[in-house]
């Protein structure tokens, strides 16, 4: 599905990514952990085209997407959320989802059906006429997730989806993310500092440290890896 190899990105003298790679199979959830500045968000930015990687390969279904414009990568099927939610503040919730389906050639009725499905799923349908700016931060994260899901992506990149979200909404997010691969034929790259959620949701976890891949494996392997304990968990 998504294969990243030897990804490198420098900002001036700082090497943010130094040959990172992973393979994300279809309908899988990949957890990504690492300390602040370890390159997690930079990696997502390279995958979805916000940054042009200096070198390396990013293949989606066998086709190279590295270096393509952001909108082209999105149309190829990669959706993305952000650490701080980036909703369209002055559009209604319905329009936030409607505009995300603008490139799909659907009828208004089809777009509405998908929008109402996802707004119901994230429990925001009752607020559908409100401006997105009127939602709480946690609700905006849910809206952002719904906005990428209406476009039926193949892969979604979730950047700290639980940060700043109250426990109730976080549980809702966890439940929705858990069922995405099975119910919506979608693979997930999940970046989070919330280790409990990462271990709970991800079949495979990679640990980044100073732009390199420190360790990878299932939750147990990562949890017990001495290098990870020393560099990241600190206990």
């Amino acid at each position: 599905m998504l294969k990243v190899e030897g990804l490198q990105k420098r900002f001036g003298g700082v090497a943010a990514l130094r040959g990172v790679g992973f393979h994300l199979p279809r309908r899988a959830i990949l957890g990504v952990i690492g300390m602040n500045g370890s390159g997690k968000t930079t990696m997502l930015n390279c995958i979805n085209g916000i940054y042009q990687p200096d070198s390396g390969s990013i293949r989606l279904d066998g086709k190279e997407i590295g270096g393509l414009p952001v909108h082209t990568i999105a149309r190829r099927g990669i959706g993305r959320t952000f650490q701080v939610p980036r909703v369209f503040s002055h559009l209604s919730l319905l329009d936030n989802l409607d505009v995300a389906q603008g490139q799909m050639g659907l009828s208004a009725a089809e777009r509405y059906e998908a929008s109402s499905y996802w707004l119901n799923k994230v429990q925001l349908f009752g607020l559908r006429h409100n401006f997105a700016e009127e939602l709480s931060g946690g609700q905006q994260k849910l809206l952002e997730l719904a906005r990428i899901m209406v476009a039926k992506p193949k892969v979604i990149l979730l950047d700290e989806p639980f940060a700043g979200v109250n426990p109730g909404l976080a549980q809702l997010l966890i439940a929705i993310i858990a069922e995405l691969p099975r119910e919506h034929d979608c693979s997930v790259v999940l970046v989070s500092h919330d280790l409990t959620s990462i271990y709970q949701l991800s079949g495979h976890v990679i640990v980044l440290n100073e732009g390199t891949l420190l360790c990878e494996g299932d939750a147990n392997t990562v949890r017990n890896d001495p290098a990870v304990i020393e560099a990241y968990l600190g206990a």
Binding site: I50, H71, R75, V87, F88, H90, D95, V99
Partner: protein, 329 residues
């Protein structure tokens, strides 16, 4: 059975929501139709068309500016350049090339579009950088036109189109340009393109992440926003019969367009029309009652508007009374 119930519920809410959207569009269309009809009757009912002509001009300028500011978030301080180039294109085609007025007006629109295409690379800039570059380009354009051979542009003295004088026809030409501008804004607000532009305005990075081709979409708005002021410039040149570089590229034209649109509410459909009508009306009254301090008083009115209605008249009403969003766009 349950899924059939759910489908029926979705269909019912879709119809209700689409009905709401249609209602808003119809209310805006009715408002525009009333404005157009009232302005169409002015020459029939009164001999004094000056106020109405300039009201149409400023509604056109403010509404067209709303396309680029309200729908994309770009504020071109040199917006007057399209108006000026439109005026000169019409003047040169009529006076120098001997084209009939209708063709000269078409040329003014084409000139505006061509200039917008030429300036399109500046759309890569953001915020104040874009604004300042567009202001600089407007100044450069004024200097170029003022320094071209005087048998083409009239040099610093400009052009006089005395033989074209037809206030009645030029009045209705401006009405046509204003109506086309309002219809375009109305269409844009309902269209997928309009929603994409508003998404870009709110967050261009996030818009790209959902598959919107940001530069291309912005360009469409930019071209639309250039076409109407260029046409308005051409029609005004015909109406007044005089074009000079100082007035045609005066920064006050940009400033007034911004203030009128802002007073009504950027991003709303009817806001710039309301803003232009209210402020032009106040300006008119102040000018008549207090001719010596009219600019001071107008400035105070604008400051008060910005302080107490920062989203403009329509924008603030919609913010404070969300229930009215069902009727007003």
């Amino acid at each position: 059975m349950q899924s059939a119930d759910h489908a029926a519920a979705v269909e019912a809410s879709r119809r209700q929501d689409e009905g709401g959207e249609r209602l808003r569009a119809r209310m805006a269309a009715a408002f525009f139709a009333a404005v157009i009809a009232a302005l169409a009757l002015v020459p029939v009912l009164t001999g004094n068309t000056s106020f109405a002509f300039y009201l149409m001009l400023w509604i056109t300028m403010a509404s067209a500016l709303n396309i680029v500011v309200g729908f994309t978030g770009y504020l071109p301080f040199g917006y007057v350049v399209f108006y000026g180039v439109g005026a000169y294109a019409a003047g040169i085609c009529y006076k120098v090339l001997g084209w009939p007025i209708p063709l000269a007006l078409v040329a003014s629109g084409v000139a505006g579009i061509c200039l917008a295409l030429l300036l399109a690379p500046t759309l890569r800039l953001k915020g104040v950088y874009f604004g300042i570059v567009s202001l600089a380009l407007a100044t450069i354009m004024r200097l170029i036109i003022a320094n071209l051979p005087s048998d083409i542009t009239g040099g610093s003295m400009g052009l006089i189109l005395s033989s074209s004088n037809n206030p009645f026809a030029s009045y209705y030409a401006m009405l046509l340009v204003m109506a086309a501008t309002l219809l375009s804004v109305l269409w844009l607000a309902q269209s997928a393109l309009g929603k994409a532009l508003k998404a870009i305005r709110d967050d261009d990075g996030a818009a790209a992440c959902i598959g919107i081709d940001v530069p291309r979409t912005r360009l469409v708005a930019w071209l639309l926003a250039a076409l109407f002021p260029a046409l308005a410039g051409g029609v005004e040149a015909w109406h007044t019969n005089i074009i000079d570089p100082e007035y045609a590229f005066h920064v006050l034209i940009t400033a007034k367009s911004i203030v009128y649109a802002m007073a009504g509410g950027f991003g709303t459909i009817i806001g710039p029309v309301v803003g232009a009508a209210v402020l032009l009306g106040i300006d008119h009254v102040i000018w008549q009652k207090f001719p010596l301090i009219n600019l001071l008083l107008l400035g105070l009115v604008i400051i008060a508007l910005m302080l107490f209605l920062p989203r403009g008249i329509v924008g603030t009403v919609l913010k404070r009374r969300p229930q009215l969003r069902r009727f007003i766009a």
